[in-house]
Symmetry: C2
Subunit: 363 residues, 2 copies
């Protein structure tokens, strides 16, 4: 069924499932466009509840609350890919859900995602499904070691995975990771990690932001630097692969694609690590230096509006503020920086509390 390309008018009510910092920043972007926002989240202390008067605090399986939420809004989107499938289907039956339930189903299951990508000839790391210890032994034989054993669902920031360096690591890792099935992924000896945030609207128009080069600390994104230090043809190729993905999904919204870059002896290559059907932490730099940031771009797509201009005005580095790092502000922030705080009340270790965008130089 083709998407409805009628633009929603100013004053429309956008429903957002999830109340974290991504929902909060989506809400602020929608407000800049004159929209109203209704946040649905089970956690009464959600940061996004502070930026709109319209909210529902209820569990994702509370159908009475979901139905009332759907009634109250004109269109629905979400800030995280782990929206339960039943929730997505329940909502999609009542109001347009953008991105759609299919994008959620694929991206919330590592096996479905890899199978989808491989089916579109998108390069991914070698992988095998693992349901039993015997499967794991066979997978190790096929893919070699080191390799990474992962749950298929609900992994993020390095959670739900174990690195296998030797055959004797296998049994403990298999026992520790739940639920089954698992997936064993070949280790990619990559030189860099980059990501591309791409947008597609209801009319099929695709625009991507410049690629970011990402550095992780303790499996959590630490910095994203733009431009990425990669050959121009690799950046162009990454944008092309991102476009292939959103076209194949008939996707509406912003999607993050993480790539491994293998520089190689002769020519560099790209492998897709994972996709996220939402605004992405590695796209927060767009707030500082793009006329249209990733949050507005997502909202524009969700509204069936023309996409905005993703052109970049300066070189920039985004740095996450994790846990106690929030306390360096406001005293410790120098010039050339733009600060974003999420309004979280408790600075737990490993928790993303905010970020800074540090400008390097105007273009």
């Amino acid at each position: 069924m083709p998407h409805d390309t009628t633009p929603l008018p100013a004053g429309s009510m956008i429903g957002i499932v999830g109340g974290g910092q991504l929902g909060r920043m989506l809400s602020l972007a929608a407000s800049r466009l004159g929209m109203r926002i209704h946040i649905f989240c089970p956690d009464a202390n959600s940061p996004a509840f502070e930026v709109t008067p319209h909210k529902t605090v209820a569990a994702y399986d509370n159908e009475v609350a979901l139905a009332a939420f759907a009634d109250a809004v004109d269109v629905i989107t979400y800030e995280f890919e782990n929206v339960p499938a039943a929730t997505a289907e329940f909502l999609a039956a009542r109001k347009p859900l953008r991105p759609d339930a299919n994008a959620l189903a694929i991206s919330q299951d590592r096996l479905a995602e890899k199978s989808f990508l491989a089916g579109k000839n998108i390069p991914v790391a070698g992988y095998r499904t693992v349901e039993t210890p015997a499967d794991l032994e066979a997978a190790i034989a096929a893919l070699g070691l080191p390799a990474i054993l992962k749950t298929t669902r609900l992994g993020y920031d390095g959670k739900g995975q174990r690195v296998l360096r030797a055959p004797e690591d296998a049994a403990a890792a298999f026992a520790a990771l739940e639920p089954k099935p698992l997936v064993l992924e070949a280790f990619v000896p990559f030189d860099k990690e980059i990501s591309v945030v791409v947008a597609r609207n209801a009319s099929g128009k695709v625009r991507s932001f410049d690629a970011a080069e990402n550095f992780h600390t303790n499996h959590i994104l630490h910095t994203s630097t733009v431009p990425a230090d990669i050959p121009p043809e690799i950046e162009k190729h990454a944008a092309m692969l991102a476009k292939v993905i959103v076209v194949a999904l008939d996707y509406v919204g912003v999607l993050g694609v993480e790539f491994f870059v293998v520089l190689g002896d002769e020519r560099p290559s790209l492998i897709v690590n994972e996709i996220a059907p939402r605004v992405h932490n590695s796209g927060h730099w767009t707030e500082a230096v793009c006329l249209t940031d990733q949050f507005e771009q997502h909202i524009r797509a969700v509204l069936s509006w023309p996409l905005g201009d993703p052109a970049r005005m300066a070189d920039v580095m985004m740095q996450n503020l994790i846990g106690d790092e929030i306390f360096i502000v406001p005293g410790g922030i120098d010039g050339n920086t733009q600060l974003h705080l999420y309004g979280k009340t408790e600075a737990r270790p490993g928790r993303k509390m905010g970020h800074v965008n540090i400008i390097r130089r105007p273009l």
Copy 2:
């Protein structure tokens, strides 16, 4: 009494008096910094009520509501200069009011403002107080014609003023304008209008944004273009005069200063037209091309935070969307533009509904 320079922590509650688009954009900026916002406004349909769950709908003389509002917040600011003096004093007795009641008192009265500016040797157009027809006759004799007869209070967007071109215009204009006293201002044969948005924080640090060149249509700001097409020494002089004003007021927050530029035969000169103790329509371009925009800069000052970096990344023109002009969006907006809509439900003629920032070229 020196200002309290202790920075307010993330999660603080900022009270904003006034619920229009300026209050809305201040609220969005404060949310980006992790703050919470409470809007006080008599009009239940105020655009700013859509961007926070904390609100008071009450008259500005409702002391019970004002007291509860003051109790609920950590610091108070406002979006318009016509906050009644009694309201400002009532609030300031309970919580820090930034900018203070003195800045309001001076800027909401044309005579007080001109007297203040002239007293600091800031160039202003010649003026005379007019309480009677005889005063007006004497003022015309002193200042010549054409001249502009204005109310001293509550004028904006060309309201509350009449141009006198000939002596026979005087009687009707005097009769029409209320309340008395009025002020007659000499006509300044200016070549351009520019404005400077300047910020001063509690520690006395002053930063100004680049000057904007302003064009009006039907007495309403139509466009602001940056950089202004003026000699560099005039831009520097305008920033210096703006700094003199905020230092003289011991001001905390963002202040807009409108200037007439008279190019002259030998060297150009500046005359201050008026000041506004708040974020200013001619500063909306900062949202698109500055790492810190005028709204965040105001919030930073109000929080006793260090000021942000006002550096500009590109040339830009801001254009207001007045009344029906809102309906050109989203279809009619090209690339290189950033759209802002205020969420107003009714597009009345002359009403500011939104604006676009149009990028000319990166620096």
